[in-house]
């Protein structure tokens, strides 16, 4: 594409653009590493591959084939567009042809991915008349097709939710499938992190248990995007040893990655030009020259905004916008509309698309030249997946990443080495979260009674007698039986911790429409009576939060302020599991009881954040058992000594800001949302009697984030330090330690910065000593 090359050249000479670029990385093209198709691959498969132009395999595909056919569990980690699906399709088809009874189960996290894979597999199978029946089994599968999927589907494509609530509880209907289940493919394994991942391990535990009941013991094939701990994660999900295959043999074209930080508009408050306008502007530059471009944005509203700005920028009646078509693409569109846009992109009828993550995974839209990311998509692996949307195997492509004002964005754009180095982010799960585990034990005992000596994660006896006290299981003759009329899987959702969501209902002018849902603890902080709730860019005023009936009534409003609740949090350490002092403070890992109560709220004026009033909130206290890391700045440690030096009047503010900034950068390393982990700072904690910082998991029972926080602490501390020291603001801004408080404590940012530096250096020294 000389066009793109020229355009990039021009741009690299444009000072107005390059002044805001923090890194322009050119990743050179790489040749593919090929291997011959193994001898033993059946001719019918070979012919199919030939007919699709595949005469050789990439090295990682061949490696996968060898391992899987030898009965090894594997986890494949390779970049986007590296022929990943052949890593499982090839060995599975080979073995299924070889052994006509054997079956395979493919699990994808979304329906769109399932459909995509089904059509890809079908093309493969039909092209060469491979005698393997592929069936999709999900919520959309009509009842008439379900029977044939169960009876004769050799490869069944489904998702974890369906496995959990449809297949496993009805396993006797699947006897033929399950007793011959030989391969389980878990694609996009990095998606199974946090709560979802913790549930996933338990679903796999149940699958293995039932498979064993029918005498089968499947091989697991996992695929992951690039994260720092794919093997560890896959091992936690399938609880078996796996072989890591992470050397991609696929060729790649030259790729430019440009990190762009919009210019400061107000250096004092740290306000930058907005992501929406900047990305529209940049995308327009390329689209005007007919360079095929995809813009990724983080919300549906922004998607529509950016698309309309670009179209406005391109508008020209005299040349019909040079026939350049740009469409928005997001969840909420009809399937028909989506298919039409996908097709338009493939055929070249549409040159540009602005999308939410809806287009990120799997869906075939053909090759594009440029990806513009309007804000970091939340994890670095998503950045690579989105950037991977641009570029075919041997042509030049580019991705321009535009930072928003959020701390994570600002951190990454100013510290690009994190981004280009080895992936810093790891996925964490906690399959033994007591609440999640109990939920799945209910499902498991429903599926098959437990013997007293059975294990599920550990011995089941204690759990079963707990469930017996609840009145849902019965011990009789040495076995535990499900003894309740309900269908437990129905009450357990895999993608959230609690089923008690508050439904948000818009009642403006007699309307009665549901506009969203929120978990109860967040609802108490965000939807209390008189709260200003912002949903898809619209303002609403909460009229009543009805906790008993799990709903909240809101009305559209047009106000010049937003609300911020004041939460009083009380934390009690219940169980101290492990302690150490390697981070030059005392660290504790344990179970905590978090009691929180929202008592008051502030009204803050938009743009100036000026406080224009208070109100009271009357809501019952929220109680949660969860996991927490505790950092104790003990007197005799370096961190404690450094903290003691801070002026007493500033201490409370400083420890609060340290907590904020650490929490702000943690998501980069933990692959979570910023609200998945919470922080509480104590100047003198009642348990440790020292200044202490609690970093606890927002999910009841914990989802592995507190543990992950401690493991990654040196990196998180480093990142916090880098963020604060590289931020241009004078006294603190939303992008680093948060805006300065009204008290006018100008010293706070300096103190935070000094403290973080001291702490970081001591942690580095400490780790070098111990090396």
């Amino acid at each position: 594409m000389t066009n793109l090359k020229d355009k990039l050249n021009t741009l690299s000479l444009d000072r107005a653009f390059t002044d805001n670029v923090t890194r322009w990385e050119k990743i050179p093209s790489r040749n593919g590493k090929y291997t011959n198709i193994p001898e033993k691959v059946f001719p019918v498969i070979k012919e199919t591959l030939f007919s699709r132009g595949i005469t050789q395999l990439y090295s990682h595909q061949a490696e996968s084939f060898t391992s899987v056919t030898a009965g090894e569990n594997i986890v494949v980690v390779t970049p986007t567009a590296s022929g990943k699906s052949l890593c499982y399709n090839l060995p599975v088809l080979q073995k299924l042809i070889e052994n006509p009874e054997e079956r395979a189960l493919y699990l994808f996290p979304t329906k769109a991915l399932s459909q995509d894979q089904q059509s890809e597999l079908n093309e493969l199978i039909l092209a060469g008349e491979i005698p393997i029946k592929v069936s999709t089994y999900d919520g959309d599968t009509p009842a008439s097709v379900r029977v044939s999927a169960r009876e004769s589907g050799r490869i069944v494509i489904s998702n974890p939710d369906m496995l959990h609530s449809g297949i496993l509880p009805n396993h006797p209907k699947w006897i033929k499938f399950l007793s011959n289940l030989k391969y389980v493919v878990i694609d996009e394994v990095h998606i199974y992190r946090g709560i979802f991942g913790s549930h996933m391990t338990n679903v796999i535990r149940r699958l293995k248990r039932i498979a064993n009941f029918y005498g089968s013991d499947p091989v697991f094939i996992c695929c992951s995007a690039t994260i720092s701990n794919p093997l560890e994660l896959a091992r936690q999900i399938v609880e078996s040893d796996l072989k890591l295959i992470n050397k991609s043999g696929a060729p790649t074209g030259e790729k430019h990655i440009v990190l762009y930080n919009p210019p400061l508009v107000d250096p004092v408050q740290g306000i930058r030009r907005g992501v929406v306008l900047e990305s529209s502007k940049i995308a327009t530059k390329f689209l005007a020259d007919k360079i095929k471009t995809i813009v990724f944005s983080r919300s549906r509203v922004r998607t529509e905004l950016i698309a309309s700005y670009i179209n406005k920028n391109l508008r020209n009646h005299f040349n019909e916008n040079k026939k350049i078509r740009v469409e928005a693409y997001r969840g909420g569109y009809l399937p028909r509309e989506r298919r039409a846009i996908e097709k338009g992109l493939r055929t070249g009828e549409i040159q540009g698309v602005v999308s939410t993550t809806a287009l990120e995974l799997g869906i075939d839209i053909g090759g594009l030249d440029l990806a513009v990311l309007a804000g970091f998509p939340g994890s670095i692996s998503s950045v690579w997946q989105q950037a991977g949307r641009a570029g075919r195997s041997n042509t030049l492509s580019a991705a321009i990443i535009i930072a928003s004002a959020s701390p994570v964005d600002q951190y990454l754009v100013k510290n690009p080495d994190y981004f280009f180095g080895r992936s810093p982010e790891s996925a964490w799960i906690n399959p033994d979260n007591i609440f999640i585990l109990l939920d799945h034990l209910k499902c498991a005992v429903f599926e098959l009674p437990f013997q007293d000596t059975d294990e599920f994660s550990g011995p089941v006896t204690d759990f079963m007698s707990y469930l017996e006290e609840e009145g849902v299981v019965r011990l009789s003759g040495g076995s535990w039986y499900w003894a309740d009329r309900s269908y437990p899987a129905e009450q357990v959702g895999l993608r959230s911790a609690s089923p008690d969501n508050i439904v948000i209902i818009n009642t403006t002018k007699g309307k009665n429409e549901v506009i969203g849902e929120m978990d109860l603890p967040s609802a108490k902080e965000l939807l209390f009576q008189n709260a200003v709730y912002i949903h898809r860019g619209e303002q609403y005023l909460s009229k009543a939060l009805d906790i008993e009936n799990k709903c909240c009534y809101v009305e559209e409003a047009d106000l010049n302020y937003y609300t911020d609740s004041i939460v009083k949090t009380d934390i009690k350490l219940l169980q101290n599991d492990a302690e150490d002092i390697s981070n030059t403070c005392r660290t504790i890992m344990g179970d905590v009881l978090v009691r929180s109560q929202v008592t008051k709220y502030k009204k803050l004026k938009f743009s100036t954040h000026e406080n224009i009033g208070y109100g009271d909130i009357y809501l019952p206290e929220e109680e949660m058992h969860t996991r927490s890391a505790v950092l104790v700045l003990e007197k005799n440690t370096v961190s404690g000594k450094a903290f003691a030096l801070i002026d007493d009047t500033l201490k409370e503010e400083v420890i609060g800001r340290i907590g904020t900034v650490l929490k702000n950068v943690a998501p980069v390393f933990l692959m979570c949302d910023s609200h998945d982990i919470a922080v509480a700072e104590r100047l003198k904690d009642q348990y440790t009697e020292e200044p202490s910082l609690y970093f606890y998991d927002s999910c009841p029972g914990g989802s592995g984030l507190a543990e992950g926080f401690l493991k990654k602490f040196p990196l998180i501390l480093q990142a916090a330090n880098d963020l604060v020291s590289s931020c241009n603001c004078e006294k603190g801004c939303p992008s680093c330690i948060g805006p300065v408080s009204e008290k006018g404590q100008e010293m706070v940012k300096g103190e935070v910065s000094k403290f973080l530096r001291t702490w970081l250096f001591s942690v580095i020294d400490n780790s070098e000593e111990s090396d």
Partner: protein, 377 residues
């Protein structure tokens, strides 16, 4: 990941923090015997046999296959009326049957065996006893058994490593729906008893309460509340026999069939090539039953008796200007008699009514074609 010890600690903490709604369970290993005539025959299974008069006194069994093809060449005594009471209503591997009943006709008597499962470990014996009855020369008769009881039984057998013999089944819910869907508020067995069979239950236990009564029994060992379940269950099976007998009776005396059932009976009979069906439908149509007109006219059209069909459509159209008869007439005028204007008039009339979008576009298409023909003709 927490070790086993940490998990135990966590468990004991949530145990103390939860609302103490837990139920105390009596750890009583001995079995509570049920009252006579229940007989305790296996460690965890009891049986009760009941006798009543067969509702099939005067009929000729060999003719049942006209309505139920499965019955061909089988004797009425091969029918096995059955019903299950279960621990849950949603199915799935964790739902089991604790009460199973099977009834059959023998020497003009209806004999019903009920099997009761005292506790989970007895399920294998419970299923083996059932299996003895399920020989492959039998025909099961159930109410909604095809989608609920039968698959559930198959699941239970599979989970105990047993094979459920394959037996054909008559599901009377399907038959009832064909017969009475249009005139009854629902086709639940209770409604059929009340409105068709003239059976009126007193103090009957709602089916939805059954699972909890059983679980209470497991926890408390008190068997009195179960009596209601046994009675309810027994009646379900008796009603199956009475319902089949009733339908059969109508079948053989078609001209005694109540006025408002003539159409649905007539339709099935016509479908099974019995000419009485035609007569029933004609009678219904005389009483201005639209549905009967539809069925009759389609029958005539298929059998190339267009004149008869057209007469019906015309009469129906005179009675009410609805889509079915209108379209049929329009087609007839357009393609057979070439009376384009008459066809056009009907289509225009139909288009003034409220229609779905799909129908509207079809009508529009037809109208345009007719208009073209009208101009060119």
């Amino acid at each position: 990941m927490g070790s086993g010890g940490a998990l135990t600690g966590r468990l004991s903490r949530i145990r103390t923090s939860r609302n103490s709604k837990s139920v105390s369970t009596q750890k009583n290993e001995s079995i509570t015997l049920l009252k006579h005539p229940w007989r305790h025959i296996k460690p965890f299974v009891s049986i009760r046999q009941s006798f009543s008069t067969s509702p099939f006194n005067n009929i000729i069994p060999k003719n049942i296959p006209l309505l139920f093809p499965q019955m061909e060449n089988r004797n009425i005594e091969k029918l096995l009326f059955y019903d299950l009471e279960t621990t849950g209503l949603s199915g799935g591997a964790g739902t089991l049957a604790f009460l199973a009943g099977f009834g059959w006709v023998e020497n003009d008597r209806l004999i019903i065996n009920q099997y009761f499962l005292h506790d989970f470990p007895g399920e294998i014996d419970f299923l083996l006893l059932i299996k003895e009855l399920l020989t492959d020369d039998k025909i099961l008769v159930s109410y909604n058994g095809k989608s609920f009881d039968h698959p559930l039984l198959r699941t239970r057998f599979l989970m105990k490593g047993l094979k459920l013999p394959s037996i054909s089944e008559i599901d009377l819910l399907h038959t009832s729906r064909r017969l009475w869907k249009n005139r009854l508020p629902s086709c639940r067995l209770g409604v059929i008893e009340d409105r068709i069979l003239d059976i009126h239950r007193v103090n009957d236990i709602p089916g939805i309460e059954v699972p909890d009564i059983y679980f209470d029994f497991l926890k408390t060992n008190k068997s009195e509340p179960l009596e209601g379940v046994f009675k309810h269950h027994l009646q379900d099976i008796k009603s199956l026999a009475f319902l089949l007998a009733y339908i059969n009776g109508q079948w053989f005396n078609p001209f005694n069939i109540p006025e408002n059932d003539k159409t649905s009976f007539g339709k099935i009979m016509l479908f099974r090539n019995r000419e009485e069906g035609l007569e029933l439908l004609k009678q219904s149509f005389l009483k201005k039953d639209n549905e009967a007109g539809k069925i009759l006219s389609i029958y005539y059209k298929r059998n190339k008796n267009l004149t008869a069909a057209v007469n019906i459509w015309k009469e129906m159209w005179n009675n009410s200007q609805e889509l079915f008869q209108g379209l049929e007439l329009a087609k007839y005028y357009e393609h057979k008699t070439k009376e384009i204007e008459s066809a056009l008039e009907i289509v225009k009339l139909l288009m003034q009514k409220e229609n779905t979008e799909r129908i509207m576009s079809k009508l529009e298409h037809r109208m345009k074609r007719l208009e073209r023909k009208s101009v060119s003709g």
